[in-house]
Amino acid sequence: MVDLRRAAAIVGIHEHVTRYAPDKSELQIQGESIIKALDDAGLTKDDVDGLFTASSSIRNSGMNLADYLNMYPSYVDNTTVGGGSFEFHLSHALTAIAAGRINCAVITYSSLARSGGVSVGTGGVGRYGHPILDPSPDSFEEIYGLTTVGLYAMIARRHMHLFGTTSEQLAEVSVAMRHHASMNPEALFRDPITVEDVVNSRVISDPLHLMDCCVITDGGGAVVVASPEVARNCKHTPVWILGAGEAIAHQGAGKRDLIYIAAHQSSPRAFEMAGVTHDDIDMAMVYDSFTITVVETLEDLGFCKKGEGGEFVSGGRIQVGGALPINTDGGGLSSNHPGMRGIFLLLEATRQLRHQFDGTARQVSDCKIALAHGTGGALGSRHSGGTVILARD
């Protein structure tokens, strides 16, 4: 394969920090985010030739966004594979820039899930109204009352059965995320919690409790990706893309072992491309829709052996100062989750690699290489996994 390391860099970011924005449209949030991310990079509208976006609520989101912003991009990517879509976008933007098709791409996302009252995790198939099921696979699944949380709970139950993972170990993930959220002034929930708080919260879908589940917020953001030539003239130190891996995991005609998630496939691809090892990773952004998502992802990314994720996340190992700090913004479990959280993984990884929090407890010390892994869809049926490895000079 062509060596794509450092063929493109994240040069601008913006998080639309509101967690409740009933007065805004989703396109407005994306537009404002793009404008501010370009300003963060020191670039302008005229520099952008690639547009990348995904949405579960905006119809024809790439086309409509170009119209809203009066842009004429020469490269458009609407890849929509759930919450991890934006790691796929970064991977695709890297390829497009390396091939010389474009010089500068913006990736953006927004959602008004909270002000819209969307039951993201427990709405089931009827959360947008009376469903007409697709002939397959929906007609063989949704008739049984699937929910997003239920599809993760089934994998949590299986993980407990096979490996002895406990609810207390899963709760450690929530506790660590809340600790990080306490250092993020924008996080939705910032008060410290304990393992007991989590396991005593009400059960949503056994064995997952309320506090094993991510929050629901509004929000959005944008990422600017550029060629090395453009990146060198931007305001901030470039955050280079070293590697990217993509994968889809599904039921495999009813025969695949769902205890292995898409990260199992995407992670080796990203590490091989980047030419780094797990020991080189200073911090990771791991999609945390639910606590079990983090445990499973860390295992299948290869940070620990299969079945050892419950132990790995315990005892402060995933907090700043621990062996592998993850989700230093507080994650989806405490900071924000508008429905597709993948873009926020790229934002926080970039902040850490820029050393934006130097002198504060939130900064991962001497952060040189970060990994982000987005999961979209559901572990128990089918989902995407996008792994990206990022580095500063």
């Binding site: 949704e142 039921q251 769902l258």
Partner: protein, 137 residues
């Protein structure tokens, strides 16, 4: 007079019609490719292993074990909202394929991984009969 079915109903098309027709007769069928010697679930118009079109239907024993499950306490969807708590499960049939289902006719708390179950049917509408699983007799 029974209560009208208020849960989502399957959409039946050509490639899946034999399955739903069999359910109406009280038979659980799955697909089998003679060329690959492989079963597959869910039903579809091609064999997922060889990508050939020569998939046939065979009757499943209707017996299996619970591969994993969750007791659902919250689902906003009409039909399920007032059914909680209910058991959503993946059942591994004796033929080796796993399918989504509900475990019915038992206390949700008695369900466990490895539990032996067997198919049971419920008529949703005159056209649609849905397979569920219950503890094996």
């Amino acid at each position: 007079m029974t209560t009208p079915w208020n849960k989502p109903l399957p959409t039946v098309v050509g490639e899946t019609k034999p399955f739903w027709d069999s359910c109406r007769r009280g038979q659980l069928v799955i697909q089998y490719c003679r060329g690959c010697d492989e079963y597959q679930w869910y039903p579809r118009g091609i064999c997922v292993d060889c990508w050939g079109e020569n998939v046939g239907w065979v009757q499943s024993s209707g017996r299996g074990t619970v591969w994993t499950y969750t007791i659902t306490y919250q689902n906003r969807t009409t039909g399920f909202a007032d059914m909680v708590p209910y058991v959503l499960a993946l059942v591994e049939l004796e033929e080796g394929v796993r399918m989504f289902t509900n475990i019915v006719d038992c206390n949700p708390r008695d369900v466990h991984i490895g539990m032996a179950v067997e198919v049971t049917f419920q008529n949703a509408t005159p056209q649609i009969t849905i397979p569920y699983f219950k503890p094996a007799s």
